[in-house]
């Protein structure tokens, strides 16, 4: 069965059909389901975006970042603070949050970027906790402490207000699809390959002329920037942000999305997010047992498909030639 799956994945026609079907489902979905499921699908989109953003860092470069919620929180708080204090429109804050979070990532990861494997992992866990505790401690009275920040505005474009679940649903999914497109293009480029070289063998990558330090930083900056976008969307949807939304468990969930889907695989990240956000919903009737079953299912996935549900397929000679053309 594994071979059949792999073969199907490899066929361009199958891949095209899968993408077309997925896009069709995304467009039709809110008109055939209830408000409740549209809301669930919004969070699915949000987690897909977070998964894609961590996939750059963890999946492509192999940097164990278990503090990704810190970047998400930074984006959300940037939006919350600038919107409530200075009345800057939420949509304007979308790129602002992305850039601010990217800058924050550059600042905090520069000194730790040389750490490898588990060491980096531990420091990023600490980073996640430091950010959450700082928000909780309300430095200078700007983060609102444990209560967080209330009264964040809705995104507006002229007279159009993004307000209903359906509108939010489309906002997040348009951004998710754009990001997926950009990241797929990056994968088969000089930058994407260099990231993979680093993941495979850092010393060899350096010896082949890859500026390891800069490219690792680039991955963190890019990944954090996307997490900042997710933070902005989250703040706009909830209209309130508080530290308890960005606990360590969130970082773990995003980490799982990438692992379950397949490291460095964009379609895998979609599937990973689907599994992680849908499973607890589907098994809601089982009440307190659902997390137990969820855990068992995760173990099963990692046991039967250790490379993830939809592992990354390497580009073939043929596909590369098709992309760049013959001389």
């Amino acid at each position: 069965m594994r071979d059949t799956l792999a073969k199907l994945q490899g066929k361009p026609s199958v891949r095209r059909a899968a993408v077309a079907a997925a896009v069709a489902v995304v467009i039709v979905f809110p008109f055939v389901t209830s408000r409740y499921w549209v809301d669930v699908a919004f969070y699915l989109g949000l987690y897909t975006l977070l998964g894609l953003s961590l996939n750059v860092i963890l999946g492509e470069v192999g940097l164990f970042n278990l503090g990704h919620a810190a970047f998400w929180a930074f984006g959300a708080y940037t939006t919350a603070i600038l919107n409530t204090r200075f009345d800057i429109p939420v949509l304007v804050l979308l790129p602002v949050s992305a850039l601010a979070t990217a800058g924050f990532a550059w600042l905090v990861t520069s000194p730790i970027i040389h750490l490898r494997g588990d060491y980096l992992c531990i420091v990023t866990i600490a980073l996640g906790e430091i950010v959450r505790l700082t928000l909780n401690n309300d430095p200078g009275g700007i983060t609102g402490g444990p209560n967080g920040i209330f009264g964040i505005d809705r995104p507006r474009i002229g007279p159009l207000v993004i307000n209903t679940p359906t509108e939010f649903y489309f906002l997040v999914w348009v951004i998710v699809i754009l990001c997926a497109w950009a990241l797929l293009r990056l994968q088969n480029s000089r930058i994407g390959r260099a990231w993979n070289y680093i993941r495979e063998d850092e010393l060899a990558a350096e010896a082949m002329g890859v500026d390891v330090r800069s490219l690792k930083l680039l991955a963190f900056i890019l990944g954090a920037g996307l997490a900042g976008v997710a933070g902005n969307l989250y703040a706009a949807k909830m209209m309130v942000v508080s530290p308890e939304s960005f606990v360590f468990l969130e970082s773990t969930i995003i980490f799982m999305i990438v692992l379950i889907g397949g490291m460095g695989s964009v379609p895998g990240t979609f599937l990973g997010a689907l599994v992680v956000s849908l499973f607890p919903e589907l098994f809601r009737p089982l009440a307190q047992y659902r997390m137990l079953i969820f855990g068992a299912a995760l173990v099963a996935v990692m046991y039967f498909r250790p490379a993830g549900i939809w592992p990354r397929r390497r580009a073939t000679f043929r596909s590369l030639r098709k992309e760049t053309g013959k001389a």
């Binding site: 000089r190 930058i191 495979e200 010896a207 002329g209 890859v210 760049t324 053309g325």
Partner: protein, 258 residues
């Protein structure tokens, strides 16, 4: 004798009091094969890592094509034209052979994040060039039919060749090879040495590190012998073969062990 492409001037490298390389002097002539031999632990690989930028020496300088490159980072040196292979194979196991060899061209490219996302014309042209250079070396090393195969699925001998192809794809002026024949059978050894022997004709200078003296005798123009971190002899293969100090310090000891 042609111009020296690489000069090692009084290089000393210590590890916490242990002197791995002591006041080393060496000159490598352009478009030749120069071998660095010596028993295990002589300091060959340390010197090699100093030249390729992995270690910074405590004393001395490394001069490449008239430029002081002491302590420059490996990725900078690759761009300047110094490529290397590793003693214990370091290929990118989960990537295809083509992707492995394409890594060599990374340092020749300039395109970044945005031009890659939007596939600007110059990015496409660059990608094409990267791919074509990689294809060329895959063909020359006989790995063409394995281009889409993951590197980890290749047999050992071919993985060695893949590493060589990858280093050559950086378009080096100087190629540093750390024991390229280790672990190969006689046929593969002959094959790879013949390939290496042809490199100077393409204008590539080779510095070959070996502890097996017989491997380098046939193809080296000059040989430097190291023992206990110091240079003990240098000359043509014939001179080295007849050098009493070499026989004593190197061959003599190996015989004593055997």
């Amino acid at each position: 004798m042609s111009e020296a492409i690489l000069q090692v001037r009084g290089v000393t490298k210590r590890f916490k009091g242990l002197v791995a390389v002591r006041r080393m002097e060496m000159e490598i002539a352009e478009a030749t094969i120069h071998s660095l031999i010596g028993p295990n632990g002589a300091g060959k690989t340390t010197l090699f890592n100093v030249i390729s930028g992995i270690y910074r020496p405590e004393e001395g300088r490394v001069i490449f094509r008239g430029e002081d490159i002491t302590g420059r980072k490996p990725h900078v040196l690759v761009a300047k034209g110094i490529a290397r292979t590793f003693q214990n194979l370091r290929i990118f196991a989960n990537l295809t052979c083509l992707e492995n060899v394409m890594s060599g061209q990374h340092c020749r490219g300039r395109c970044g994040t945005w031009s890659s996302i939007f596939r600007l014309p110059r990015q496409r042209a660059e990608e094409r060039r990267i791919r074509e250079v990689a294809e060329e070396w895959l063909e020359k090393t006989g790995l063409w039919e394995f281009r889409d195969e993951l590197a980890k699925n290749l047999p050992f001998g071919l993985r060695k060749k893949l590493e060589l192809a990858r280093a050559l794809a950086t378009e080096p002026k100087l190629l540093l090879l750390d024991e390229p024949t280790t672990g190969l059978n006689d046929k593969e050894k002959e094959d790879i040495m013949e390939f290496i022997g042809a490199l100077p004709r393409m204008g590539i200078t080779v510095l070959l590190v070996e502890h097996n003296m017989n491997v380098v005798m046939g193809i080296s123009e000059r040989i430097t012998v190291m023992d206990m971190g110091e240079k003990i002899a240098e000359g043509t293969p014939e001179e080295i073969y007849n050098d009493l100090r070499v026989i004593e310090a190197y061959l003599g000891r190996e015989e004593a062990i055997a």
